[in-house]
Symmetry: C2
Subunit: 208 residues, 2 copies
């Protein structure tokens, strides 16, 4: 099993390989890619060990090949089908983010409570009424979801998603959700992140 941290870095490496490496560059050494990713070369090599990828001691890593190998691990056999609940500013931002980025992620359904938004296509994606969560998630065999609803609704939405078969949730609502231990949960509370950054910014300012 690949660790949480490693998966995150692998995702970054791939993005760098696909988007930030000059198309003419065929090979890359660990220290070059590591520097782009702001990690140590040893860390990078260890991460690649986790996916069993091998480079050449003299030439380094074959850019296209490595990107492909990371993809084989991260993406699985077919594109990941994702649902997003809560089409406020944040939800819409995420939908267009993901669409704009070449990746194996597909947001195939979005949900909202507000009838003015539902039934229409927003940011190129069908928006259903929140009542339809179970129905659509089951039918579309979705196992990954993003929650961007207000705090008060988040737990209820999470329960319904889990019930419908979702196995991984990315939660932007600032409330720690309760999910069964077999559901992977990632909380991305904006305020908490900002409080942390503000704290360390102050530390740096004081040290100066």
């Amino acid at each position: 099993m690949i660790s949480d941290r490693t998966v995150e870095r692998l995702s970054l490496y791939r993005w760098l390989l696909e988007m930030r490496v000059d198309p003419g560059t065929v090979y890359l050494f660990s220290h070059q890619l590591a520097s782009m990713a702001s990690v140590s070369p040893a860390q990078l090599r260890r991460d690649l060990m986790a996916i069993g990828y091998s480079g050449s001691p003299s030439k380094g890593y074959l850019v296209k090949d490595l990107a492909g190998s990371i993809g084989a691990v991260l993406d699985g056999s077919e594109p990941s089908r994702v649902a997003l609940v809560g089409m406020g500013n944040l939800g819409r931002a995420i939908v267009s983010f993901v669409r704009g980025r070449k990746s194996q992620l597909q947001i195939v359904a979005t949900f909202d409570k507000d009838c003015r938004k539902t039934g229409r296509v927003i940011s190129g994606c069908r928006c259903y009424n929140q009542d339809k969560i179970e129905e659509v998630v089951e039918k579309e065999k979705i196992i990954t979801a993003v929650i961007t609803v207000p705090c008060a609704e988040a737990q209820k939405v999470a329960d319904r998603l889990v019930n419908a078969g979702v196995r991984g949730i990315l939660n932007y609502a600032p409330v720690p959700l309760r999910v069964p231990e077999w559901v992977y949960l990632e909380n991305r509370d904006v305020t908490a992140a900002l409080e942390k950054v503000a704290y360390f910014a102050r530390q740096e300012e004081e040290r100066k």
Copy 2:
């Protein structure tokens, strides 16, 4: 120096104490608060050790007092003044998130490139033209910033912020920024997070 992880959890504990604990509850045991935060009681106690807070072995922690002690560490002596660059969907979402939440964080200035948005007040916050970053950040003595501009501009914006005196950056652009080692940087790439969640969701699905 308090660790990264601990600061994040402290922020969560405080939020739970202020928002999720019944106002009639005066005392709370470590296992109660730990359960709300989905951490182990030992973890919680150790985190509180970091801020030097002590509870009573028989009664537990005094809710108001603990919230105050966490605040004293996290917030410092005065509210943290924050700048946000990039008033797209994501930027606006964050501004209203932070405003809506009772906290010591104040987004005192926002910036955008687009003239239709600048010079006006959006989500209750003055929006300046991006040219004014140095001027405003210096004048307002801002040391914390959020970046929500498109990928291509992110590094340039970061450089200008750092130049103007910023010591902590919360970056939502999906590109790993380069900053001096004395600037605290937190990357919150949405796509990377989603790829990670999709990966672990698939793992859970397969294990089933």
